[in-house]
């Protein structure tokens, strides 16, 4: 089988879009806790937390640049424990992203197409992404190249559209209630960075796998900058309370401003950006999921697995929660925080322990890698 490679630049764009899509659309720094006007501080704390997590994930990945998580888990922890840890990571791919798709479906249903069945919206997105995943990581990389400018343009255009409606006073007082509220509000978005575990599968597909940590740090920095900006602009435009009340604050912000009498209703931009970003996210995760499963079960080619995998993806995303109330509860820091962090820390705790242990056992082997 020909080995497919993507450039580090493409990984950067993919990680940026994964990190920017849902986090910006639902803005958990504002909606998941009581940070209110300090949401942008929560976004900065989120950045710090994400940097730590990316070091945990990509830091181990670059030590095994030719191997995916499944392969090095096998090597570090032994056959069966390795497979178990890999399955845990693969589960988090499936679960987190099916929730993402569901949120997107909810948005389409509650904002635009109220009578369209949810399963239709979700399965279109999943099937499309499955097709991209089937075509392979190179195709996803090129799609990221293609969509990234559009994505950024749409987000920037949406932010610029609101300039006339900013009320900077909404951002004051800064940190009046101390660091507690923004800290609480950053728990969920930090936990969402469990999604970044895709790096563990993607790193061997890079042209310069050893640079992966640097690449993903750049991506995270850019994405966090976007998040800080969006959080501040949403609060300045909508007010902290109205923003925190809304299901999709970003969309609500755009809907609530008219640029001029002739240029109104620009939320189509944001919806398009969200769709593109989600498409890149889902196809990346389907690719990584299928590839991971194939390696766990020793299947030569991941491709035959992609289409069957779409089925649990759709089903889980429809059944992940019943209604908006459950979604809101799910994203609360006290529920999603421990869950998301456990998804990262349990497998990576074991893997790093295995890595350290191996280092002690075979110090000479380490140099070769």
């Amino acid at each position: 089988m020909r080995t497919e490679k993507i450039a580090n630049r493409q990984l950067l764009l993919i990680v940026y879009m994964i990190r920017s899509t849902v986090i910006i659309a639902t803005l958990p720094v504002l909606t998941s806790a009581d940070a209110l006007q300090d949401a942008w501080v929560a976004a900065i704390i989120t950045y710090a937390g994400t940097v730590v997590i990316i070091n945990i994930i990509a830091g181990l990945g670059v030590r095994y640049p030719q191997q995916t998580l499944v392969e090095f888990a096998h090597r570090l922890l032994g056959k069966w424990p390795g497979k178990a840890v890999a399955m845990l990571v693969l589960w988090s791919f499936l679960h987190l992203v099916s929730v993402d798709i569901r949120i997107y479906g909810e948005m389409i249903l509650s904002e635009f197409l109220t009578e369209t069945p949810l399963v239709f919206v979700i399965s279109t997105m999943v099937l499309l992404s499955a097709y991209a995943a089937y075509m392979g990581v190179e195709v996803i990389g090129r799609l990221a190249d293609l969509f990234f400018p559009v994505f950024v343009l749409m987000v920037v255009a949406s932010l610029l559209a609101t300039t006339g409606a900013w009320r900077p006073e909404n951002l004051q007082p800064v940190l009046a209630r101390g660091l507690g509220p923004p800290l609480r509000a950053s728990v969920t978005p930090i936990a969402v960075s469990a999604e970044l575990m895709v790096l563990a599968i993607l790193i061997p597909s890079l042209t310069q796998p050893r640079e992966a940590l640097k690449t993903s740090l750049v991506a995270i920095t850019l994405a966090s900058l976007t998040l800080v900006l969006v959080a501040a602009v949403v609060v300045a435009t909508l007010g902290a309370e109205a923003g925190a009340r809304s299901v999709f604050p970003f969309l609500r912000m755009i809907r609530s401003v008219g640029i001029t009498e002739f240029l109104e209703r620009v939320e189509a931009f944001a919806t398009l950006a969200w769709g593109l970003g989600l498409f890149i996210t889902v196809s990346t995760f389907m690719f990584c999921g299928a590839r991971g499963i194939a390696q766990v079960f020793g299947v030569q080619d991941y491709r035959p697995l992609v289409l069957p995998m779409a089925v649990p993806w759709v089903v889980l995303s429809i059944h992940s929660f019943e209604d908006m109330f459950q979604l809101r509860t799910f994203f609360q820091p006290r529920i999603f925080g421990p869950y998301g962090l456990a998804l990262i820390l349990v497998p990576y705790g074991l893997l790093w322990a295995g890595h350290a242990f191996q280092g002690l056992l075979h110090p000479e082997k380490r140099k070769r890698l």
């Binding site: 006073e169 007010g239 109205a242 609530s256 401003v257």
Partner: protein, 392 residues
């Protein structure tokens, strides 16, 4: 293999042939342009008044040419247990689906405003079709007059009221323009109370001398989500100066010595800085206003020379007039216990700890507020002539 793939793709693509999931043809919708909410205390029901664009009139205009044969809009009203219920109850008596997204103004009856506008705003925020760019106003008089009478220069009430609110606030500053988005921001901020334009609903008739059904004048003042009283035009202007929202306002004065005559000065820009000082229970607000003026009309006085002393005297006099407006607004707000200037918010923003201490007794603090106003007006331009007409 190849033809199998083609068949599969063909089948998948054919799913899209049906087009959208359902259709909602623009021709079959009735576009709401103005919405009025009121509350009937006796029946304990929400009342809704709508002005809907008449599709027949627009079609007639497009195809036939010449004057439309039907009325440009249609006005209906209904009631319900909730605001949304009131809207849905209307659909039994219409022939086209009512569509919200083009509503340009939301007008509120005094009865509902005094009862509280939370229910109404909640419904509007929840409703996905609604745009938060629409203007809000409180109606003094029967709402029906504003949505069921023709506006001499406009096709329908939504557009008419939208333009009237913008025009009046830009040129006179006697009403505060507030969109739904801004209203929800104001309501959510501590120490800041809502102020909405007041629209006087007047009876109209047909004919060439038909009056405009609405007169935009003054404002409705809220405390929390309940309306507590009206501001006059002067008081509203004073508030617009304090909050720095004044774009243009004309002041008419009888000139004092050494000059004489009546003069109209237009304030073209006002920059205001407000600072709050809290010591113990005593709150002092310092307002510093810098404004530019322009002479628009000077009648009756023949001896005005705009040099040195005279111009300074005029500037001082205009400054006093601005201070008078500001004081009027502050005094009225103290009576109503409504902080429409955001003095409380200023303390909350800049001294959050102090605000925590005084927020519960803010209405009392507001009543005893000490306000120092410092106004400086510069008359820079005199229009196209310097001196008035002289008949010899």
């Amino acid at each position: 293999m190849k033809w199998q793939r083609l068949v599969v793709i063909g089948l998948l693509v054919s799913v899209l042939l049906g087009g959208c999931w359902n259709r909602r043809e623009p021709e079959l919708l009735a576009l709401i342009t103005a919405v009025g909410f009121d509350y009937d205390a006796e029946a304990d029901r929400y009342i809704i008044h709508l002005a809907v664009v008449n599709p027949l009139a627009t079609q007639a205009g497009e195809t036939g040419g010449g004057a439309p044969t039907t009325e440009m809009f249609w006005s209906i009203s209904g009631s319900g247990f909730t605001p949304f219920g009131a809207l849905r109850n209307l659909e039994g008596s219409t022939t086209r689906e009512l569509y919200w997204a083009h509503a340009r103004v939301v007008i509120i009856g005094e009865g509902l405003a005094r009862r509280g506008i939370e229910d109404m705003l909640e419904f509007i925020e929840r409703e996905r079709q609604f745009r938060l760019t629409a203007f809000l106003a409180v109606v003094d008089g029967p709402i029906a007059r504003l949505v069921s009478q023709a506006y001499p220069l406009e096709e329908e009430p939504g557009e008419a009221l939208d333009r009237q609110i913008l025009l009046t606030s830009l040129n006179l500053a006697t009403i505060p323009p507030v969109t739904l988005r801004q209203a929800s921001v104001v309501l959510s901020r501590p120490g800041l109370d809502l102020m909405l334009p007041r629209l006087e609903a007047r009876p109209s008739h047909s004919g060439l001398d038909a009056p405009n059904p609405a007169r935009a004048s003054g404002s409705a003042v809220f405390s929390g989500n309940r309306m507590v009283g009206w501001f006059t035009e002067d008081e509203t202007r004073g508030r617009e100066v304090i909050t720095g929202q004044l774009r243009r306002a004309t002041l008419e004065l009888e000139m004092e010595k050494p000059a004489t005559g009546r003069i109209a000065v237009e304030l073209v820009s006002a920059k205001t800085t407000v600072a709050a000082r809290v010591s113990g229970d005593c709150v002092t607000i310092d307002i510093d206003i810098r404004a530019d003026g322009r002479i628009q009309s000077h009648a009756g006085g023949m001896d005005l020379e705009f040099q040195g002393l005279h111009s300074e005297a005029l500037e001082r006099q205009v400054g006093d007039e601005v201070r008078r407006l500001v004081e009027k607004a502050v005094n009225r707000a103290k009576v109503l216990e409504a902080d429409v200037f955001g003095f409380g918010e200023l303390i909350y923003r800049t001294q959050p700890r102090t605000w925590e201490r005084i927020k519960d007794e803010w209405p009392e603090r507001l009543r005893e507020l000490e306000v120092n106003t410092n106004v400086r007006v510069t008359i820079t331009r005199t229009g196209l002539v310097v001196e008035p007409v002289r008949a010899r």
